[in-house]
Structures are given as C-alpha cells and as structure tokens.
C-alpha cells in the first residue's frame, strides 16, 4: 500500500511540472457505462446498455494557462474594465496549450456474454483542437522587441485539429478474478483536418542599433470532406472557395479512412484494490479529400537576406530616395513581402496520427459502492506532452444516486474540483458532470470548462446477475 501511495504521490509531483487534459469526472462514475472509452479493460455494472442517439455528449475546453483574472481587471461591480495584457503574458509558460475537444456517442450498445466477456459497439463523432503557442507569440507584441535582446523571441505555433467519425467494437475479457483486458479496434472516417507541420520563427533585436533579424519557416496541411480550394498570391491575397455540392460532400464522407486501436489491462491486487492501464487512440487517418498544403519561409529576395535570415537594419539609401521621390510606401512593403513568400497548393494524400493517450488508474473500494480512484493520463500531442492527475471519490447512494467528486491537477490548473451526479432509474440512468464546479462560482480562476451529459438505457445489474449465476 505504501508503494501505491508513493507511486501516486510521484505521479502528482510529475504532474506539477507539466500540463495537459485530464479524464472527465463521469469516467469515475459507477453508473456510466462508458468507462471503457478511457479504459477498455474496465467493467460496467450493467449486463447491457443502449445509448440514445447522442446519448453521451462530452465537451471540454482547456484554456491552459489562460485565466480570466490574469486577463482582466474588474471594477467594483465585476465588470471587466482593463485588459491586463502584460500580467497575462507574465502568467504564460514558455510553451502553452489551448484545447477544445468533443466526444459525442451518436449510437452505441453493449452487452455481457456469459460472465467473462463484454462486447460494445459504438459510433462516435469526435473532434479535438490542440493549439500550442510559445509565450513569445504574445510576449513580442506586448513586451516589445527590446525585451528580446538577450534571447531572441521564439515564436512557435502548433495547430492540430481533427474531426472524424469513429466506429468501434470493444471486447473485454475477464480472464480470472484478478485480471481482465480489453481491446477496441476502430474504423475512422476523417471529416476535417488542419495540421501544422511546423511554424517556427526567431526574432532577435540588436541592442545597439536595433537591427531586427528573423528566421522563419512554416508548413501546414488541411483536408476536409467539404471540397474547397485555397490560393494565395501577392497581388490578390488569399482566395478561399467552397464547393457545397451535397453529392460531392456525401461522396467524400467515407474517403478519409483511418484505423485506431484502444487497449486496456486491469489487475486486481486486493479484493478492493484494482489497478488499470489503458493505451488509447493509437492509429491514423489517411486524408484524401481537398488535401492542401501551405508552405512559407524566407527567400533570398535581396540584401536583407543574409545567411538564411531576414535582417532589417533600416531603410537603405535607395529606399529613402524612392520614398522622397513620392513612391508609394506600399511598394516598399511589397518588396519586403517578397522575402516571405507563401505557397498554397493542392497536394496528394497525407497521413496524420491520432492523439494517443496512456491512462494509469488505481481504484480502491473502501466500502461497497464507495471507492476512491487515482488516475493519471498522459496525452501525446505533437511536440507536446500533456499529463494530468485526478483523484476521485465515487459513491452510490440508495442504489440510485451516484455522486462523484474529483480533483484534477494540471500545470497552471490546480483548482479543478469536479462533480458528477447520476441517477439510476431502473432501466434508465441519467448523469451529468463537470470537471470544474468552481467555474460556476469563481470563473476568474478557471482554466477548464467541461461538461458531460448522458442518458442510457440499461438492463441487468451485474451484482444481481452474479447472485443468480454464482458459478459462472
């Protein structure tokens, strides 16, 4: 037990130094049949269930280090009056994250096969936006470039947006009283993707003569089932057109094919102590529809291009002369723009990975229908590692009311007290939860806004079934 407690504490310490998205509070609720979404090896108390259309809706916004109280100063009545930009940038880390994700169970069902097997089939619509940005992206316009004379401003942006349909079949096997495992292969159909391969810029300022030196490179890919064309040139700028022909769109729905896999393993150390691990969302999507690539970088367009960098040390003699002769300064800007060419063009198919997660969870049932859990999740976005630690209590009262309280810590976010409430109404259970109930009372301090609601038909209680079939 000491080892377990020590291990949990180590997870917690680790999570203090990193940030990421966490498991939803309803994941810990006993009456929710969707625990297998995050741990395929986890069991459910039902013998079977059928979810209503859109019967489980999970939406989350993770603002990362963004806090209302850091962004705004309010008057006595609570109205925001000042945008405290400097304070906000001061609160940022070197790398920062903003995420929006949704997971909607469009249709699903599951049922127990004998005692040891449980099979679920589901159709989900999932989307996730992972936006990473370095502090200097906002620090440069707020602090000014002279704040970056010792170290260059490191401008990094990352966008990874995926929207896709997921058809999954989950299979759980209770090997014995201690061990169970689960697997869920998934067939994916991509809807839209925006994906930066890299967006890196360094902006340095010479402290003596204020010469600004910059390196820059960016590449991004996009695809969607809605056909679109995007072009860019210096004269006309961006041109974006969408072909909203319904037949074409429908024809594209199943063209971005992908595959995914969830794996889970559980081990019951003691009668009341269970350890689980899950490896989730391993897979990829092959994007084929309206695939477009945008690249941009520095080009040798003149004297300001020096050894791979753009260096602006002031207007030259000829440029000054041109301006004095009345030439439009926009021509000068056009000249500068030639150093930063951008190319947008259709491309062939490309593959993006899903955002894999690794979940470790310990459940300790200290009384019947009352358990505490400690779970950590490691989420692997591109160039970014997002762990979180959640401590949860879940209790079922009167065999009807399920109450779950969870505390989640992430970097920049240590005040996430979540609550979930569910009602088991026989063949129907309803539940709702949020990972951050504090947001309702102190919105200025929250960094996460999440919510989950669900209505599920179920039948058979496993405990009752066990009583009736003690030998299976």
């Amino acid at each position: 037990m000491r080892k377990i407690i020590f291990t949990v504490l180590m997870w917690g310490c680790f999570c203090l130094s990193v940030n990421g998205q966490a498991l939803d509070v309803t994941h810990f609720m006993r009456i929710s049949p969707f625990q297998h979404n995050d741990l395929p090896s986890s069991s459910t108390i039902y013998n079977g269930y059928v979810s209503l259309p859109a019967g489980n809706v999970q939406v989350g916004v993770n603002l990362g280090p963004i806090r209302y109280k850091n962004l705004f100063e309010t008057d006595a009545e609570g109205y925001p009056t000042v945008l405290t930009a400097t304070k906000f940038v001061n609160s940022l880390s070197y790398k920062n994250y903003l995420g929006v994700n949704s997971d909607i169970e469009l249709l699903g069902f599951g049922f127990r096969i004998k005692d040891r097997f449980f099979l679920t089939v589901d159709h989900r619509f999932r989307s996730n936006l992972d936006f990473t940005y370095s502090r200097d992206v906002l620090g440069l316009p707020i602090y000014g470039n002279m704040a970056y004379v010792d170290e260059p401003a490191d401008l990094k942006l990352g966008i990874n947006f995926n929207a896709y349909q997921e058809y999954g079949v989950s299979f759980r096997h209770q090997v014995n009283d201690k061990i169970s495992w689960g697997v869920r292969p998934k067939l994916l159909f991509g809807v839209a993707n925006i994906n930066t391969q890299y967006f890196d810029a360094l902006v340095a300022t010479d402290p003596t003569d204020y010469t600004i030196t910059m390196t820059y490179a960016a590449a991004m890919r996009a695809a969607a089932v809605v056909p679109f064309t995007m072009t860019f040139n210096q004269q006309d700028g961006f041109n974006f057109e969408i072909d909203n022909d319904a037949r074409t769109i429908v024809g594209n729905v199943f063209r971005n094919v992908g595959f995914g896999l969830d794996l889970g393993f559980s081990y019951k150390i003691l009668e009341s102590l269970n350890l689980s691990a899950g490896l989730l969302d391993l897979g990829f999507i092959n994007w084929n529809t309206s695939t477009t690539r945008m690249t941009s970088g520095l080009e040798d367009a003149g004297s300001m291009y020096q050894e791979g960098s753009f260096s602006f040390s002031g207007l030259s003699q000829s440029q000054i002369q041109s301006l004095m002769n009345g030439e439009d300064y926009e021509e000068l800007l056009d000249t500068l723009a030639q150093y930063f060419p951008m190319d947008i063009a259709p491309m062939g198919s490309y593959v993006t990975g899903l955002t894999p997660r690794f979940v470790l969870q310990a459940d300790y049932e200290f009384a019947k229908y009352h358990r505490v859990s400690a779970a950590t999740q490691f989420r692997f976005t591109k160039n970014y590692f997002q762990p979180s630690l959640t401590l949860a209590y879940d209790g079922l009262f009167f065999n009807t009311i399920d109450v779950c309280v969870a505390y989640t810590m992430q970097r920049h976010s240590y005040d996430n007290l979540g609550i979930g409430v569910g009602f088991n109404l026989g063949y129907l259970n309803v539940y709702a939860g949020t990972q951050n109930i504090i947001a309702a009372f102190s919105v200025k301090n929250v960094s996460q806004l999440t919510g989950t609601v669900g209505i599920v038909f179920n039948w058979g209680h496993y405990d009752n079934w066990r009583k009736k079939n003690p030998k299976q």
């Binding site: 707020i142 602090y143 000014g144 470039n145 002279m146 003569d209 000054i320």
Partner: protein, 522 residues
C-alpha cells in the same frame, strides 16, 4: 419510475442552473472594457544608408562648381572664358579711325599749259599723294572691308571739262585698277566712291598716289589769264579685312571680371577655410600671328567684403605664344594657400597686355579682322585643407508629419550611429525652428555631439543619442516647420583631402515605450 425520472431531471437541471447562475454575468459584459494595460519597449532601425561625397553632390542641384578631379579628389572649380579680349578688328579700326587726305592749290598761266593734243587741252595733270600714318603700321598691302574715297577739284573755268582720276595701287575685287572718268561743268567736280573690297598695294611709306587729269576742248581764247585748281583726295570710313605689313608694339589695358554662383557655400557654410595648393589655369587662344604678354597686377576672388589673391606675387608676367589656334595653357605664379570665404562670388583679372612686343623689328605680319586673343581662366581649388571653425548649416522645410497620440510613446531615444569615412570631425546639432514665431523650440541633442573623423583613412564609428522623456517633447519639436541642421567641421591640424569616394554611413534607430492602450484607443 416516472416520478424518479422527473425528480432526477429536476435535480440535474438545478445543478446546471447553479452552475450557470453562479457565474458572474457582469464578468462577461465587456461593454466597459476600454483600457489595455501593456507598455512595450520597442526599438526600430529606421535608416541604414551610406552616402559618399559623390552621392551628396548628386543630390544637390546647385553645386556644379564642386567637381571631381581625375583622382577622385573633390575640388571647387570656377571657370570663365573671356572671348576676344583683344580683337584685331578693334585694333585695326582704331588705327584707321581718322581720315587720311591730301589737298592743295595749284596755279597756272595759259602759257604753262602743255601743248594741245588734237582738240584737247590738258588743264591740270598732277599726282595726289596720300599717306597713312607710319607710327603703328608700315603697310605693304591691305584689303579694304569698307572705305570711301572723296575726290574733289575746283577751278576758275566755266567751260565743260573732263576729269580723269586713276590709282594703280587700288584694285577692285575683280582686279581692275581704280579709275574715274567724268565730265564736269561749272568749274568743279566732286565725287565720293565706295572702296569696299578694294585691295591696296603700298610700295613704301604708307603712300597712296592718285593721278588726276583735267582737260577741255582746245580753245585758248576762252581760258582765263590765270588758272587756279583746288584739289582734294580723302579716304574715310576705312576698315580692313586684312593688312600685311609691319606693326608697332601695342599696349592694351586688361580689366576683366565675372560673377559666379556660390549659393550653396554661401547658404550653408560660415567661417573660412584654408585651401592648400589652389590652381589657376590660364589658357590663351591667340590667333594673332604674333606673340605677346600680359602683365597681371591682380587675380583675385572676392565677395562679402573680403578678397583673396590667387597670385603668389604681382605684377606677374604671362607670355602669350603666337598663333596658337586653340587654347593653350600659360603659367601663372599661384599662391600656395588660399583663405576661401564661402561668400566669394566674384573673380577679377587686371593688368596690361602687350601685342607684338618687338614692334617693327618683327618681320612682316598679316593681320585679319577675325583674329582675336581670348582668355580662359580656370580656378581650381582642391579641397585639401585645414579647417577649424567651419559651420555647415542647412534648413530643411518640414511639415505634415502625422504623429500619433501624445501618450502612446514615451522615453523616446534616438540613436544615430555614424561611421565616418571623412577626414573631418563634426559637432552635430539639429534645431527645431518655428518660423511663425521665429523661435527655436527645441534641439535634438542636449549639446553638440562629436563625430570623430576617419583615422588614417579608416572610418571611425561614433554613437549619438537623443532622448525625450515624453512624447509631448517630440510633438513640440515636430510642430515646428523647419529643421536646422548645424555641424561644426574641423580637422585635427594636418591638411586633409576630400574625395568623392569618402563615405559616411548612417544608422538611425529609435527606441521608445509604446502604450498599447493609447495606440489602440486613439
């Protein structure tokens, strides 16, 4: 079951209501959000340009007298050509500016008359000898451009007479000797004839002989007892196209001057500088067939109440070679240094010219009326100099700068990095002048900023800083309508040369605090 479901949904709804009602809705009412707390520290490079002396000259419209020598050295060059300082036509015309004539009276008795030949009685037959002055020219021949000859004879005889005048020394353009034949009545004959184009041959002593014969029909009974003839032959309005002969030495006063444009120097420079090794090139075009000399008493630049002589000493004699056909340089003794004032705008040359100094000892010469002596004076002042308190000043009209709001910028620091390739030290200052109130509102620098000269031809860098704490100061500066740039130029003691390739690199940057709130709201 239904009751449970109802209760459950009610409780869930209550919880969700608490969630949303608990939110302070005022916190998301951004209607009163009108301020941004951000004050960035920005630095921008504004100008990074290199200006050579040649570039600066190209940009200036009115400094044509600042030119580049063959080795690139910059020099001040004044040049002027005095056409026809001495012209042969004037010289010759002055020689013939008075009439040359001969007149007299002769008396005969009928018995002294020559015998009658046939029916003709010769009454008068004599030679009228005219003589041009011999003090300036000993003529051998000449071609008249203009001229008239007046012939007149009166006598005491009433009957008709015949007058014949010939002059073999005068021949027309067609080669015919001069000959006049006329009938006269009433005792007189007078005529004036045009001699333009006639050639004149003078065997000796500048004398021209006219042979005059007066005759009548033979009838002695009608002749008076004494015949009296009054005669006159006079050249007038004589000018020559060409004269061959020997000429006397001629002295002509030389007093020439010209004004030149010195606007750039006068308007921008004050003080004086010592220019070393000035050069004055005098070129003479002499189409006279004879040499001469000029004794210069004065060759000087002047203006603004001061002057500087270009001559090392005076009087200075300049030899004029004969018959150069094109401008040929002659040597002038030039001073080794010159105190140049930017107010100089006048050049004066004064002295005496002597043509044909050997006079009649010179062999026969041919002078034509198109022969001239012209002078071309080129004053070249290489900018090799010493200077101490030279002040350059330029006033730049200034208006129309649309400055942002007052409070957006503060702690403004202008940094001017100068890499000076010129061998001159500068003390720079800029003043902001309001012509409406005739007051200097502000200066760019707290005090004049020193820019060091190049050292051993290696450019040296200097940094100049101008700081303004508030933007109000900047606004006050740029509310003025003129910027006066002033620079004190000085050398380190040893002479320096200004070369068009010498450059000055300017690196101007501005650093300031930018209040984002003011920038956005204004």
């Amino acid at each position: 079951m239904r009751q449970k479901l109802h209760s459950s949904l009610c409780i869930l709804a209550l919880l969700m209501s608490v969630f949303f009602i608990g939110c302070n809705r005022n916190a998301f009412d951004f209607s009163q959000l009108d301020e941004i707390d951000a004050n960035g520290d920005w630095g921008f490079p504004l100008l990074n340009a290199e200006y050579t002396i040649g570039d600066i000259l190209e940009m200036s419209d009115n400094v044509g007298y600042l030119q580049q020598s063959s080795d690139g050295t910059l020099e001040i060059r004044y040049e002027y050509t005095f056409d026809s300082v001495i012209s042969a036509s004037e010289y010759l015309d002055s020689y013939f500016d008075h009439d040359v004539s001969v007149e007299g009276t002769k008396t005969y008795t009928p018995g002294e008359l020559p015998p009658i030949q046939g029916n003709v009685q010769v009454l008068y037959n004599d030679t009228l000898t005219t003589q041009f002055p011999t003090d300036m020219v000993l003529l051998e021949s000449a071609t008249l451009k203009t001229g008239q000859i007046q012939l007149m004879v009166t006598y005491n005889l009433t009957q008709p007479t015949r007058v014949d005048v010939t002059c073999p020394q005068l021949t027309s353009a067609s080669g015919q000797p001069f000959h006049v034949e006329a009938q006269a009545t009433g005792g007189s004959y007078s005529t004036t004839l045009d001699l333009s184009g006639y050639s004149l041959t003078v065997p000796s002593d500048n004398e021209i002989d006219f042979f005059m014969v007066v005759s009548c029909e033979a009838n002695a009974s009608t002749l008076p007892s004494q015949l009296t003839f009054n005669y006159r032959a006079a050249f007038s309005q004589i000018s020559f196209t060409e004269i061959r002969g020997k000429f006397v030495s001629v002295n002509l006063p030389l007093d020439k001057e010209w004004d030149f444009d010195s606007e750039f120097l006068r308007d921008h420079i004050s003080g004086s500088m010592t220019l070393l090794n000035p050069q004055v090139t005098c070129e003479i075009l002499n189409t006279f067939p004879v040499r001469g000399n000029i004794v210069l008493n004065q060759a000087q630049l002047s203006g603004g109440g001061s002057s500087a002589s270009l001559l090392a000493y005076s009087p200075a004699t300049v030899e004029i070679p004969g018959n150069t056909q094109q401008f040929a340089p002659v040597n002038l003794p030039i001073t080794s240094s010159l105190q140049l004032s930017p107010d100089f705008d006048h050049f004066k040359l004064k002295g005496n010219a002597t043509i044909n100094p050997d006079g009649f000892n010179t062999p026969t010469l041919v002078f034509r009326d198109d022969q001239v002596i012209s002078l071309r004076i080129r004053v070249v002042l290489p900018l090799e100099m010493n200077m101490d308190d030279i002040f350059f000043r330029d006033t730049i009209p200034f208006s129309g700068l649309n400055l942002p709001s007052e409070s957006a910028f503060s702690n403004i620091l202008l940094r001017l990095g100068i890499t000076n390739g010129l061998p001159l030290n500068f003390q720079l200052q800029a003043y902001f002048y309001d012509s409406q109130t005739s007051t200097v509102k502000d200066s760019l620098f707290v005090g004049p900023q020193v820019v060091l000269s190049a050292l051993n031809d290696a450019p040296r860098s200097s940094e100049l800083f101008a700081s303004k704490e508030s933007f109000a100061e900047v606004q006050r500066m740029f509310a003025c309508d003129n910027i006066i740039l002033q620079a004190r130029l000085y050398t380190d003691g040893s002479p320096v040369s200004i070369n068009v390739a010498q450059a000055i690199r300017l690196h101007l940057g501005a650093r300031m605090n930018v209040d984002l709130n003011s920038l956005v709201n204004n």
